[in-house]
């Protein structure tokens, strides 16, 4: 590494970690020179891990997001005590490959957690994610008690003004959001923005105070550096938990973007809905938290053999 690179990385990293609470988000310090990479990548036809590799290459490579000695937190959907083939949780292959690539990029630690709906240790185990993450060199950490969460102010939120956020989200340098693409009975679809309900403690507040608005509000507090939507298996109905494998289709898709709204918009279209039909996507777009108009973005579309 050249000295200039080293300094730049070092300063960047310290800014990232130090400035986080001050600016209320990473956007402000990430305004580095515009790159020629795509805004969003969509890949079809491969296995979860390989599709991730293709997608991340198209949006700048893992090195653009993860620098040496950074602490990374990966947030998959591990909400349910269900096996991988039910697609209620993120595919373990995708999560494992992300952890592996982060470690290769020099991450000091890669943490993985979710605030689950079912009993957390059963979810971690039966989703296959715990084993896959450990094998890839990551650390599974719990999120099952309030002691892991810290209350933060969300000044720009409309309905959600305060939330208790998992400390790992607040303390990490890089935040990678890895939802699974699935149907959802109340928000119609569960994607990247919806997945962030798993980093807060009190979800009941969301449900009783305009669910869609709260989901969008949270993104005014923090947006993930990277969103990887796993659509290797997609739950098409009976979501978000699903009843049986009859609810699942083997879509073989993956979407990656630093823009959470754009990623959700693309996945919504793959699901067969329009982004503007989904309350929180539309609200987030209108709040300028991202862009749901895909025609305004440069998109890499790749089909694997």
């Amino acid at each position: 590494m050249k000295r200039r690179d080293f300094l730049r990385t070092g300063i960047g990293a310290s800014l990232l970690s130090g400035a986080l609470p001050l600016f209320g988000g990473l956007e402000s310090v990430k305004g580095m020179p515009a790159s020629t990479e795509y805004d969003l990548a969509a890949v079809r036809g491969g296995n979860g891990g390989d599709m991730f590799d293709r997608a991340i290459e198209a949006i700048g490579g893992i090195g653009k997001y993860v620098k040496s000695r950074q602490k990374v937190v990966v947030k998959p959907n591990i909400g349910w005590d269900a096996p991988p083939e039910r697609a209620a949780n993120t595919n373990p292959d995708v999560v494992a490959r992300i952890v592996q690539r982060c470690k290769e990029a020099g991450a000091s630690e890669v943490y993985v957690f979710d605030n689950t709906c079912n009993k957390w240790d059963r979810c971690y185990r039966n989703s296959g994610i715990e084993e896959a993450v450990k094998a890839a060199g990551g650390k599974m950490i719990p999120g099952n008690t309030e002691s892991f969460y810290k209350e933060v102010d969300i000044p720009n939120g409309v309905s959600l003004k305060k939330a208790k956020v998992h400390k790992m989200i607040l303390e990490s340098d890089v935040f990678i959001n890895v939802p699974v693409m699935k149907h959802h009975s109340s928000t119609r679809i569960s994607l990247a923005m919806k997945n962030l309900m798993g980093v807060v403690w009190d979800r009941k507040f969301y449900h009783s105070n305009d669910l869609h608005q709260c989901i969008a509000d949270f993104c005014t507090f923090i947006k993930p550096d990277l969103n990887i939507i796993d659509g290797y298996n997609m739950m098409t109905k009976n979501g978000p938990r699903g009843v049986s494998v009859a609810d699942v289709t083997n879509l073989k898709a993956l979407i990656a973007s630093p823009d959470i709204v754009a990623a959700d918009a693309a996945a919504t279209k793959m699901f067969g809905l329009e982004p503007s039909e989904i309350g929180h996507i539309k609200i987030a777009h209108n709040m300028r938290l991202g862009n749901m108009n895909l025609e305004e973005l440069s998109i890499s579309k790749q089909k694997m053999a």
Binding site: D81, S186, P240, R241, I299, K303
Partner: protein, 516 residues
């Protein structure tokens, strides 16, 4: 015979049973979730009797083994297998260590009226299926409640403190566990019990076992006629009194060279204390010591008295009225999966709290008045505390009495404990006009489904045919109790739920590879 080896063996066996029993109740990481584990409790007397009465399973003869063992060599059960007895030995041991008295125990009279009355009441309770009495008096269940409602929370607190410290240095081998305290009434009850037992055993050894415990009294009757007994060799005795000072049951009478075998718990302390070989464990009668006529008369008298008392108890039984709970929301509380019906469950469960300790989601909580008097301290499905995990049947696997049967996971997933009832007037979608659907999200069978409502809103709709009453809807409902917008109304008798239909894919993903 080498009595010190015999005593050592007794201590080792006791500790083994004790530690295994304790570990069942303190398994906070769910390491024990399988059926073989409950065999640790196979020999527990009352649970075994209950299981035998409830299931007539041929394999459930733990109590017969104990009866045979007692008939052979006395109340070895009380010394080595009963966890409450062993716990008392621990207190008594501390008391003796701290005492400077040369002779710690003295010979004391027994309390025949009290102990035979309590035995009689227990038997009547068993016959009439009035399990509250058994619940209150069974030593194993009392021990269970001490562990589940008093000790377990302490262990959870210590674990949570340690795991927080370890997390600070990036070690994640321990993780915090949700701390759930028993209702204060049950907590206080267990605490009072522990205090009583501690005091009694600290002062007077096995007084509880020989005056209150119905199992001790019952086995005591048997051990009077047991084949092997501790007996005096009067010729060798120097009347030093060391045996009396060592006897936790206070049952050795040196004046008449007699031992009250109904109270002797086979701890063998006297055998090792005696330096003159004046006490032996033997089958031969060393010195005739018949049951005194007096005592026999007391037994019969109390028996008759209690028979008369039956009618009173029978009245109490018919008076129980769970339907009074109707006033609020639910016709019936919800009993755990595998309990078949509330009535059956109430009849068998002794409220030991093992399932409460083992339940991974802590949805099983001891009832104070949900079931009425008869179900005091028996577990019920408390959907404010959690909801039943669809893929778990841990309570049935671990229940030592057969009150919760070990049904298969397929059976469990089609057993309807109650029915979800939707209260539109309380629902956020109706009152606030915003999306919610927390109930439908969690529903494992999609008995709660979201259907179109005003505008783009979706509102819950319940299909009770496929509802299993697990509480996955009631628990996450954001409206506080008792105004939940969806709740589970218990089934008095569990019913069969229909299997959710596995419909063909209706919303096939778009044909295009990239529809943008």
């Amino acid at each position: 015979m080498n009595y010190s080896k015999l005593k050592k063996a007794r201590v080792i066996v006791s500790l083994l049973f004790f530690i295994l029993s304790i570990s069942l109740f303190l398994d906070i990481y769910e390491k024990y979730a399988n059926e073989t584990v409950q065999e640790i409790l196979y020999l527990q007397f009352i649970p075994s009797v209950m299981k035998f009465l409830s299931t007539f399973a041929i394999g459930t003869i733990g109590f017969l083994i104990i009866i045979a063992l007692t008939a052979f060599m006395g109340r070895i059960y009380c010394s080595s297998i009963c966890p409450l007895g062993i716990l008392q030995d621990a207190f008594a041991w501390i008391a003796r260590k701290r005492s400077t008295k040369k002779f710690f125990y003295k010979k004391k009279k027994s309390y025949p009226i009290l102990r035979y009355s309590l035995l009689g009441i227990t038997i009547i309770g068993l016959i009439l299926s009035f399990s509250t009495i058994v619940t209150l008096l069974d030593p194993y269940s009392n021990f269970g409640r001490i562990m589940t409602y008093l000790i377990r929370p302490v262990v959870v607190l210590v674990n949570n403190g340690l795991s927080l410290l370890l997390h600070k240095v990036e070690v994640y081998t321990l993780s915090p566990v949700k701390l759930v305290m028993a209702p204060w009434f049950i907590f206080s009850f267990s605490l009072a019990l522990l205090a009583t037992i501690t005091y009694m055993s600290y002062k007077r050894g096995r007084l509880f076992c020989n005056s209150i415990c119905p199992v001790g009294t019952f086995l005591g009757l048997l051990s009077k006629i047991s084949f092997l007994k501790i007996q005096f060799k009067a010729d060798n005795c120097t009347k030093c009194g060391k045996c009396i000072g060592a006897c936790k049951s206070e049952c050795i009478d040196i004046k008449t060279f007699s031992i009250d075998h109904s109270r002797c718990v086979d701890c063998f302390n006297c055998l090792t204390a005696c330096e003159d070989s004046a006490l032996v464990l033997t089958a031969k009668k060393q010195l005739s010591a018949d049951i005194t006529n007096n005592e026999r008369r007391t037994v019969i008298a109390t028996g008759i008295g209690l028979l008369l008392g039956q009618t009173v108890l029978a009245d109490v039984k018919t008076k129980k009225d769970t339907s009074k709970l109707l006033v609020n929301e639910k016709d019936h509380p919800v009993s755990p999966p595998g309990s078949i019906s509330i009535k059956r469950f109430n009849d068998i469960c002794t409220g030991c709290g093992l399932c409460v300790a083992a339940c991974p989601t802590q949805v099983l909580q001891p009832a104070v008045k949900q079931y009425g008097l008869i179900g005091f301290m028996q577990p019920h499905m408390d959907y404010l505390s959690g909801f039943c995990n669809f893929d778990c049947r841990g309570c049935g696997q671990i229940c030592p009495t057969g009150a919760i049967l070990p049904i298969t996971i397929e059976e469990k997933q089609l057993t309807q404990l109650g029915k979800a009832v939707f209260v539109k007037e309380n629902c956020v979608v109706y009152t606030d006009g915003t999306d919610c659907g927390a109930c439908s999200e969690h529903c494992p069978t999609k008995a709660v489904n979201m259907v179109p409502y005003e505008g783009k809103l979706l509102i819950p709709e319940v299909n009770q045919d496929i509802c299993i009453g697990c509480g996955a809807c009631e628990h996450p409902c954001p409206i506080d109790a008792p105004y939940k917008a969806i709740f589970v109304n218990g089934n008095a008798i569990h019913q069969a739920a229909e299997k959710p239909k596995e419909e063909e894919q209706t919303t096939a993903p778009v044909e295009e590879d990239f529809p943008f």
